[in-house]
Amino acid sequence: MMLTVDQVTKNFGGLQALSGVSVSFPRGEFVGLIGPNGSGKTTLLNCITGLYRPDAGAVRLGEENISHLPPHRIYRRGIGRTFQISKVFNRLTVLDNLRIPALTEGRLKRHEVNDRSREILEQIKLEHHGRTNAENLSGGQKKLLELGMIMMTDPRFLLLDEPFGGVHPELKSQLEEYLCQLNREGKTIVLVSHEMPSVFKICQRLVVLDHGVLVTEGSPEAVRSDERVINAYLGGNYDEA
């Protein structure tokens, strides 16, 4: 099943954050969504996950238009996301944070939820912090916890907003490996990141946004040498290129 963004436009007052963006994320692909600050990457993720409703265009999962659905319904259709500034529930324990997404579905029994939580804790290397309140975790650990939270329900699509931000370099390479493993298992991953070495290393395809417009897309090698991308990052005008 393919996730498709079709001619999506989003305005905030006089600011056009996204302008007719069209892009597809086929199943099993590892896509990097890059662009300078303010280019519309997070806005695009917000439109896909239902936090923003597009002013024009549509977001489709397979044939279904999901643009009008609330965020919880989109999550239940298998689209999980993390945030640039971690949205963990600080005053709850790490285990409770993990239990919440699984409990919302209601199909798992309590002991199954607990088993799954412990399994995820091990995968994200937080097995000794189960009873710790999330507010006591480091920034990097919170990023891992967020990823663990969405993994609780085994979503098909993972939209990750700056997952490497604040993560210790050693942990970062483990996280890269974990994401690659998830991708090999069939997950579609959309990675928003300013960590260019990681992006170029693990992504199969890159999509570049600038000022709310899709500048180009293609393989990391092709994008790296694209003059419009270089101009976007260095402040040039790609229309002139």
């Binding site: 609330p70 945030f83 949205k87 919440i100 919302t104 969405i150």
Partner: protein, 310 residues
């Protein structure tokens, strides 16, 4: 400490009528009414993060519904009180469905307007409600204070048990998550509107139940019940006792209700004193008096237990 204290408190509450009669028993009866209101409002504000100014209004709906059903419908008092709670829940459902999809101060503004509309409606509909004179209501067992007190205590314990169960259930976990980060909860599958509505309707129902109880222990309901001053009193009680602690808010209610009796000579200045008390609480113990007392008690116990034996 947190387990022993409620049990001790319940024993003290059960024995209270053996030591205090008439006047102070009546003060306790009214204190229990406010305790139900304050604890249910603190559930809404402290656990869910919703600020409603219609809690006194829901109590008014419960009181008038119960009173009118007994007077005109011939219903028994217990059944009428349940009907009052249901009426408050239905109105809460209507207001919640209209406002809880929106973010920001809309619930607070809507409930403020609703309370005022209800007060004007009760005052204006003289033929039905006797307006500002007030409606005389049949009393529980002709006003037997002992029965009234234990009825109030039973309703108060019921409120605490149901709300505590809710907090410790799956729904409670979602409510805390929503209060911590609404977008975070929504994007992990929590239907934020539905669960906010559940909390709003349940707490409105308890306010309605408290209103029905008040009507049949006081014997008179009037628009005074739903005025903003009453809502301010509930708010002060919850903040003083502990916004995130159901028992704390209830104790805050009983303490301020008792204080009201001592401060009668100050007339309307009592409210200014309450206001000052709330300001001091917010400044020096923002979590409320009871959670702060627990903290000090635990520190004291730790020090006492870790003393070197002589």
């Amino acid at each position: 400490m947190k387990r022993i204290f409620p049990a001790l408190l319940l024993i003290a509450a059960l024995l209270f009528p053996f030591f205090f009669r008439d006047y102070w028993l009546y003060v306790a009866i009214i204190g229990l009414y406010y305790a139900i209101l304050a604890s249910s409002w603190s559930m809404l504000a402290g656990q869910v993060g919703l600020i409603s100014f219609a809690h006194a209004a829901f109590a008014g709906i419960g009181a008038y519904t119960s009173a009118l059903l007994v007077i005109h419908g011939g219903l028994s008092i217990p059944l009428a009180m349940v009907a009052g709670a249901l009426a408050a829940a239905v109105v809460g459902l209507g207001i919640g469905a209209l406002t809880l999809r929106m973010r920001g101060p809309y619930l607070a503004l809507t409930t403020l307007a609703f309370s005022e509309i209800l007060r004007i409606f009760i005052t204006a509909e003289y033929q039905l409600t006797q307006g500002s004179i007030g409606l005389k209501v049949p009393l529980i067992l002709d006003g037997n204070k002992l029965v009234c007190y234990y009825t109030g205590l039973a309703l108060f314990v019921l409120t605490l048990v149901v709300l505590t169960f809710l907090i410790h259930s799956r729904v409670g976990l979602f409510l805390v998550a929503m209060r911590e980060d609404e977008d975070g909860a929504a994007t992990r599958g929590v239907d934020t509107v539905a669960y906010r509505l559940v909390a709003f309707v349940v707490t409105s129902a308890f306010a309605g139940l408290a209103g029905g109880y008040y009507a049949h222990v006081v014997g008179l309901v009037s628009p005074q019940m739903v005025r903003m001053g009453e809502m301010g009193l509930i708010l002060a009680m919850s903040v003083f006792g502990g916004l995130e602690s159901l028992l704390g808010a209830a104790l805050g209610a009983i303490f301020l209700q008792t204080l009201t009796e001592y401060l009668r000579i100050f007339a309307e200045w009592r409210l200014a004193i309450f206001g000052a008390l709330v300001l001091f609480t917010l400044k020096f113990a923002p979590e409320g008096i009871l959670p702060r007392a627990y903290l000090y008690a635990e520190r004291f116990m730790d020090r006492w237990l870790s003393r070197e034996p002589r």
